[in-house]
Structure formats: structure tokens, C-alpha cells
């Protein structure tokens, strides 16, 4: 039972970063590694604002706004100009951006781990067989709310409709009069703020933030995106939890030799061998 709860919290942290990545991938088909740079930015900036003396909620909101603007800037300033130049160019550019961002954080906020101490008005869940800190509770609640809101946004609003159309076929959507550039920008805005929210929640949960905190999630999120079948939001959400469960249980029951990150990748490679289009992916031709 404790394992399941741990896995749920872990999976929630994957959901946040993977959903944004799926939005971006689904539309532009580029591997946006710098996404994890925004994840780190959200957490670091929120901590910085808290240290300046702002109340937590205000700091988080401000950090989310700035992170989404940073994400949109990355699209408008960089990716947009290299989209027609094959797959490798945006990929390498993204890698360069990620390195630049991480180093920028190190220069601005120092290379140290900082505590993210904040009081949250939620109770700890404690019983003889189960322990879940208030921060874990917060993570589960926020993720649930985000998933519901995202579902409503994608399925019920005009913006969601245009986003779905774009992810189906970008040029065709453009031909039908959808302002694709605006839709993509919105995808980056939404995705980046979700990544930042994920960074903040993980920072709160682990009680540390540091400039390179995005490194592991950047690759991990891709595992989730692949497992979910590129571009499927529903798949990404389910895959996050499945991956977290697999990792947690394999580590717990088998005392496996390899660390959990390697297990995640091994799962992905095996899955790709048997189902190259991901768990919930469609074969695209």
C-alpha cells in the first residue's frame, strides 16, 4: 500500500513534465529537451521569490507566469526559425539551449542545493501502515486538478479544438484557417507552466532545488512520452503512473541491480521492440 502511494506521487511528478512535452511533441514533432530547463527554472525562481519574502502562493503564480513566458520565448525566438530544417537541427539546438539555461541558473543562483521550506495548510496522512506527507497530498491534489482542467481545456474549448487539430496535422490545420503559430505558442505557454509547476511541486516534496535538477527528468519525461505513444495526452498521463508503478515495484520486490532510471529506459527499449508505436500510439504513415 505504501508502495502504491509512493508510486502515485512519483507518477504525478512525471505527469506534470510529460504532458507539456507531449503537447509540444504532438504538434511540432521536435524533441524539446530544454523543457526540463523550464522545469528547473520554475522551481528555482519560486524559491528565489520566496526568499525575497513573497508569500508562497504569490511566488508560485508569478513563477508560473514567467516560466510560461520563457517557454513561449524559446519557441518564438529559436524553434520557430529552424522548423523546416529537418529533425536534427532543432534537437541539437534544444540540447544547446538546455546547457545554456542550466549554466545561466548556476551563474545567477549559485551551484548549491537550496531548501524549499514552506508551510502548506494540509494535514499529513498518517496511519500504522501508511505515511504520506502534506506535500505529497498537495502533489496528488494539484495533479488531479490539472488533469481535469487540461481535459476540459482540450475537449471543451475552442483553443483545445485548435490544439487537437494542429497535433493531427499542422499544415492541414493551417489550411483550414487555424492560426497555427498562435496555437503552438499556446501549447508552449501551457506546457511550460505545467513543467514549472511540476518543478515547484517536486522541489517542495524533496525540499531541495538546484540548477541541474532538470537533468534526469529531461530524459525521464521522454521515456513517458514514448511509452504513452508520442503525442497522446491520455497516454502520457497513464504511462506516467504505469512507469512509476513499475519502477517502484521492481526496485522493492526484486531488489534489482540497476537504478530506477535504468529500469525506466530498459522498460522503454523492451516496449519499443515489441510495440514500436508506444502503448497508446497509433501507427502514423
Amino acid at each position: 500500500m505504501q508502495n502504491i502511494v509512493n508510486a502515485l506521487v512519483l507518477g504525478s511528478s512525471y505527469v506534470m513534465i510529460a504532458v507539456g512535452l507531449t503537447l509540444v511533441y504532438g504538434i511540432l514533432k521536435i524533441l524539446h529537451i530544454a523543457h526540463a530547463g523550464i522545469y528547473a527554472f520554475g522551481a528555482l525562481f519560486a524559491v528565489y521569490l520566496c526568499e525575497l519574502g513573497l508569500p508562497l502562493v504569490f511566488a508560485i503564480v508569478l513563477s508560473l507566469i514567467f516560466s510560461s513566458l520563457l517557454g513561449a520565448f524559446i519557441y518564438k525566438g529559436f524553434y520557430k526559425h529552424v522548423l523546416d530544417r529537418g529533425r536534427i537541427v532543432p534537437l541539437v539546438m534544444s540540447v544547446g539551449l538546455f546547457a545554456t539555461l542550466e549554466d545561466l541558473y548556476r551563474l545567477i543562483w549559485g551551484p548549491y542545493k537550496r531548501p524549499f521550506d514552506a508551510y502548506i495548510g494540509l494535514p499529513d496522512v498518517m496511519s500504522p501502515t501508511l505515511y504520506l506527507s502534506s506535500k505529497g497530498v498537495l502533489m496528488l491534489i494539484v495533479t488531479a486538478v490539472v488533469i481535469v482542467l487540461l481535459y476540459l481545456l482540450l475537449m471543451r474549448t475552442k483553443l483545445g479544438k485548435s490544439l487537437r487539430a494542429c497535433s493531427n496535422d499542422l499544415s492541414l490545420a493551417g489550411a483550414f484557417g487555424i492560426n497555427t503559430d498562435r496555437s503552438v505558442t499556446f501549447a508552449f505557454l501551457i506546457g511550460s507552466s505545467l513543467a514549472a509547476l511540476g518543478g515547484i511541486l517536486v522541489g517542495l516534496y524533496d525540499n531541495t532545488v538546484y540548477p541541474t535538477m532538470g537533468s534526469v527528468p529531461s530524459y525521464k519525461a521522454f521515456v513517458v512520452v514514448v511509452l504513452g505513444g508520442f503525442g497522446s495526452i491520455k497516454g502520457a498521463v497513464l504511462a506516467s503512473y504505469i512507469l512509476a508503478l513499475v519502477e517502484t515495484f521492481v526496485v522493492y520486490y526484486f531488489g534489482f541491480l540497476l537504478p530506477r532510471d535504468a529500469i525506466a529506459f530498459l522498460t522503454m527499449i523492451l516496449l519499443l521492440m515489441f510495440k514500436p508505436e508506444g502503448l497508446f500510439g497509433k501507427v502514423r504513415r
Binding site: Y25, K29, L31, F78, H81, V82, R85, G86, R87, I88, V89, P90, L91, V92, M93, V95, G96, L97, F98, A99, T100, L101, D103, L104, L107, Y219, F222, V223, V226, F230, L257, L258, P259, D261, A262, F265, L266, M268, I269, L272, M273, P276
Partner: protein
């Protein structure tokens, strides 16, 4: 600047050249983007380390075996590439890199995070190579690799790779066996990267798992892309830039990695075909700017 420092930087540059050329066969020629090339590099280095330190083998048989084994592993790791393509392949290779490094890191036999120490320098007729001689030895191998790649790019196989890169389905439909050429490309790339790993390991005389982690793979891809994908000289120029630039930027201390990252970003921004590719484009009119230039020359010539 001392001689030893200069020699070390040039040895690293040459080893990176071999790595970049080997990835270029895979990515530039055959179109299979790999972000796990450091895994092959690591397998070459670790095989040689295990053979010489743990099993007490001499350097020369270990060289042969490590190159062959990494080629073989390359062939095996090429298997996922038969099933997946494009971005899935990129992610699968990232995964391979992670798994390989974790095996080095967590299996006691490979020394865990402490790596394997005390690799011997190669010796010829009972005389162990000095640093200077080792640099020459690496130079010889680099030249061999350059000539091999040059030779390869004039063979029928290169045409197969080209077909694979341009359009896999179309290549299949005219009778180019895509699995065969994919495996072929992976095997050659693994072979050459294994050679680079061997050279690297016996120069450093130690191997650590961290030396072969994912950022190294990114570095290798960066060399290829900055220099010019699919060209012969490009990856070599890229290797020089990526290896030497951080050294040159040492004066900038804190801003070193920042400048390095920005150079990558802006090279992609202004020269998406890499340095060599962009110069070629300028000369032969492959890029908008080059087209304008060629038009101008034609106009002048016609009057």
C-alpha cells in the same frame, strides 16, 4: 603552454575525430540519428580495460578483441533500429546509453563508480609508449580511420546508406535492403567508436562510468552537426571545435559552458547545415544566400 598539455589536447581531439566520423557514418550517411554513441565508446574502453587488467591480456590482442566486440555489440544494438525509426530511435539510443552506463556503474565486476584503474600503455618490442609516441600512434589510427571513411564514401554501400537516409520506403521498393544497411552502419560505427574507446582508455590508463554518460553522446552529435552532417571534413572540424573551444575559453572561467551552449544554439540558428555544409551551400548555391551569389556570378558572366 607545456608540451604535455598540448599533446593531451591533441590526443583528445584526434579521438573525438574518430568518434565524430563513426557517428557520421551512422547519422550523416545512413540517416540513423543516435544519441547513445558514448555507449559504444564506453564498451570499447571497458572491454579493453577488462581484458588487460582483469584477465592480464597484452595490449595488442586486447585492441583487436575490444574493437571486434564493440562492433558486435553495435550490431546487436542495431537490432532495435530495425523496429523503430526517427525520434523513437533517438530515444531508444538514449536508453541504451543509460542502461550501458548503469551496468558499468552498478555491476561490481566493472569496478562500480570507482572504475578500473591501471590500464597499461601499449608497448612495441618491449618498449612502452611515451606520451609523445602515444600521440603519434593515435595520429596513425586517425589517418587510417579517415582513409577508411573516405574509401567507404566511394563504395556501393554509401549509395545504400544514401538511399536509406533519403527515404526508407522508397529504398525498400527499389530493392535496397534497409535492415542490411542499418545493421551494416551500426556495426561500422560501433567498430570505430570501440577503437576510439580503446585509444582513450589506454591513454588515460583509467576508465570511469561517467566518462561514457549521456552528455558525452550529446557532445559527439554536436561535433557532427556543427561541422556538417554527411560530409567528410565537417565532423573533423566539429571535433576540433568542440574539443579545443572549452580549452580556449578557459580564460572566461565561469562563463565557459554558457558561451559553449550559446555557440551551439547560434551555429544551428545561422548555419543549420554546419560549417562545412554552409560553406558548400554558399559555393554551390544550396542555401538562399548561396543561390543569390551564384545568380550574381551567372549574371556577371553572361554580360
Amino acid at each position: 603552454m607545456s608540451l604535455d598539455y598540448f599533446l593531451t589536447v591533441s590526443v583528445f581531439t584526434m579521438i573525438n575525430m574518430i568518434l565524430a566520423l563513426s557517428l557520421n557514418i551512422l547519422t550523416g550517411y545512413a540517416g540513423q540519428v543516435s544519441l547513445g554513441h558514448a555507449a559504444f565508446f564506453g564498451i570499447g574502453a571497458y572491454t579493453s580495460a577488462v581484458l588487460t587488467v582483469k584477465l592480464g591480456m597484452g595490449y595488442w590482442p586486447a585492441l583487436l578483441l575490444s574493437v571486434l566486440i564493440s562492433g558486435l555489440v553495435g550490431l546487436l544494438l542495431g537490432l532495435p533500429a530495425l523496429r523503430v525509426k526517427e525520434d523513437f530511435l533517438v530515444l531508444a539510443t538514449i536508453g541504451v546509453n543509460f542502461v550501458v552506463v548503469s551496468i558499468f556503474n552498478y555491476v561490481q565486476f566493472f569496478g562500480g563508480p570507482y572504475g578500473i584503474l591501471g590500464l597499461p600503455r601499449p608497448s612495441l618490442f618491449g618498449h612502452a609508449f611515451t606520451t609523445k609516441e602515444y600521440a603519434l600512434y593515435v595520429l596513425v589510427w586517425t589517418l587510417v580511420v579517415v582513409f577508411f571513411v573516405k574509401y567507404l564514401s566511394n563504395t556501393y554501400s554509401k549509395l545504400g546508406f544514401d538511399a536509406l537516409r533519403e527515404d526508407e520506403d522508397a529504398a525498400e521498393s527499389v530493392g535496397v535492403s534497409s535492415p542490411r544497411y542499418k545493421m551494416y552502419a551500426f556495426a561500422i560505427a560501433g567498430l570505430l567508436a570501440g577503437l576510439a574507446g580503446n585509444l582513450w582508455a589506454h591513454y588515460m590508463t583509467v576508465v570511469f562510468p561517467d566518462n561514457f554518460s549521456f552528455p558525452v553522446s550529446i557532445g559527439i552529435l554536436t561535433m557532427v552537426v556543427i561541422g556538417g552532417v554527411g560530409t567528410l571534413v565537417g565532423p573533423m572540424i566539429g571535433a576540433v571545435i568542440v574539443t579545443v573551444l572549452p580549452e580556449v575559453l578557459r580564460f572566461a572561467r565561469d562563463y565557459r559552458m554558457l558561451i559553449y551552449g550559446l555557440i551551439i544554439v547560434f551555429t544551428m540558428f545561422f548555419m543549420p547545415k554546419g560549417i562545412v555544409g554552409s560553406i558548400k551551400g554558399l559555393m554551390f548555391g544550396d542555401t538562399p544566400l548561396g543561390k543569390k551569389r551564384v545568380e550574381k556570378i551567372r549574371r556577371i558572366a553572361s554580360t
